[in-house]
């Protein structure tokens, strides 16, 4: 009984403090500052400098400013749904961290990758509902584009993210398609055979493109299309409602690349979470920061695709290769 209570308390602390809510808040402040600095560097600007040391607290100041504003809704807007749905989306994406070795006490079950993908899907669904809750011609254009993008990028992301657990189960059946054990065996996924390495490489490339689409990063930011369709899905939002929507998007920009690093880039290799948790954690953070910087640079450098161009790109370079990788991962595992 004591052990049971201790486990529950530990899991609650993990969900709310580390690596959950509070840690993610700190990560959002740091990564947003990093993104702005990297983007500014590319454009020969200085980025944030005034608030906090080297401007590190500027994202926090911006966030608090939005949260403390009056909550304004227009005459047609749903009042409660955007708040509820964004809180729920934040809850579901933060809960995903409990399935990874980043949590000192993790949760796992056979086939839990399906539960993880379901929780990730809630973010996309909730952002679509968030946009639909505030009717406006520009918002509707943005949501229509977002739904079209999700139609191709979410299946591609799912297909790509399913490959590592399937490959891991082929190498070591005791991983049982669980995210936790797949990450613990992530270093072996590339080295076990030529076919597995090829399948992982295809899934990694397709997964990266799909991730850009799901996060609506340039060149796939046509659902927001700032300046083109006003602000797309966010046109009607301001104050705390906009802060909550951004909170979910920023969480997605942390947790998706982190999962990508742990599944496709060897996880904590050359360290292991089982042997040296601190070193493994730092390695994952460093790999994550490299991927995140790459995404920030792509976002800064690339122009925006037209919606149909973006969808065509996703079909060609994300969903098709991801499906091929998934099929061959299943066949190779079955044989």
């Amino acid at each position: 009984m004591d052990a049971w209570i201790s486990n529950v308390v530990t899991l609650v602390l993990e969900a709310l403090v580390f690596p959950g809510f509070m840690f993610m808040m700190a990560m959002i402040i740091f990564t947003q500052w990093w993104w702005r600095k990297a983007s500014a560097r590319m454009a020969y600007r200085r980025g944030p400098t005034r608030t906090g040391p080297a401007g590190t607290l500027q994202p926090l100041a911006d966030f608090l400013k939005l949260l403390a504003k009056e909550d304004i809704t227009n005459g047609l807007m749903l009042r409660r749904l955007p708040i509820l749905i964004t809180s729920f989306a934040a809850g579901s994406i933060i809960t995903v961290l409990l399935f990874t070795p980043l949590s000192p006490l993790a949760l796992w079950s056979p086939f839990d990758i399906v539960i993880v993908l379901y929780l990730l899907l809630w973010v996309a669904v909730s952002m679509a509902l968030y946009g639909l809750s505030a009717p406006n011609p520009y918002t509707n254009l943005g949501v229509g584009r977002y739904l079209a993008l999700l139609t191709v990028s979410e299946p591609a992301l799912f297909a790509a993210f399913l490959v590592p657990p399937i490959v891991a189960a082929g190498i070591n059946p005791s991983t049982q398609y669980s995210l936790y054990w797949t990450i613990m065996n992530a270093a072996n996924l590339w080295t076990s055979s030529a076919v597995n390495a090829t399948v992982m490489a295809i899934a990694a490339i397709a997964g990266f493109f799909a991730m850009l689409g799901v996060m609506t990063v340039k060149p796939f930011d046509f659902p927001e299309a700032e300046g083109e369709i006003y602000w797309g899905m966010f046109t009607e939002y301001g104050g705390p409602r906009l802060a909550l929507g951004f909170f979910v998007l920023f969480l997605e920009k942390i947790i998706l690349p982190m999962l990508y690093v742990m599944l496709f880039l060897g996880g904590a290799a050359p360290f292991s979470f089982a042997d040296n948790y601190v070193a493994a954690f730092i390695i994952v953070l460093m790999k994550y920061l490299a991927v995140y910087t790459l995404i920030a640079l792509i976002d800064t450098m690339m122009p925006r695709y037209r919606p149909d161009q973006g969808i065509r790109f996703m079909i060609k370079y994300a969903i098709t290769p991801a499906t091929i990788a998934l099929i061959f991962a299943v066949v190779a595992t079955a044989i």
Binding site: F21, T95, P110, P137
Partner: protein, 119 residues
């Protein structure tokens, strides 16, 4: 460093417990608290406060909404129009001219050989 294993059905229930817990904390800390302490005191009324955002202009009286599903289907159909046309008209040249088509075929052949030979 430890992990608690359980059945998938139990894990679904447990994870949803945590989803609701974190969602409640997010709502309370990031919306309710700020609005109660500060935001609600900022109330002011202007004639345009509840109007739609419309390029700084007054929204017209008639319905200006664009159906979301129409936008979505329009984007998707424009994205695949060329392929759709090629399939419909049997114009295989559209596919054969594309280096991407050869890359995919080669990839599938290579992987099939790899799987068959147990590489």
């Amino acid at each position: 460093m430890a992990a608690i294993g359980m059945g998938p059905d139990v894990l679904v229930l447990v994870s949803f417990g945590f989803v609701f817990l974190v969602a409640g904390v997010v709502w309370f800390m990031m919306y309710h608290l700020f609005q109660k302490v500060y935001g609600r005191k900022l109330k002011y009324e202007t004639p345009v406060k509840r109007d739609l955002v419309f390029c700084g202009m007054e929204p017209p009286e008639e319905d200006v909404m664009i159906p979301v599903t129409e936008v979505m289907t329009s984007v998707l159909s424009r994205a695949v129009r060329r392929w759709y046309k090629a399939i419909k008209e049997g114009a295989a040249v559209e596919f054969v001219q594309d280096w991407y088509f050869y890359l995919i075929v080669m990839l599938v052949i290579l992987l099939s050989i790899g799987v068959a030979l147990g590489w």
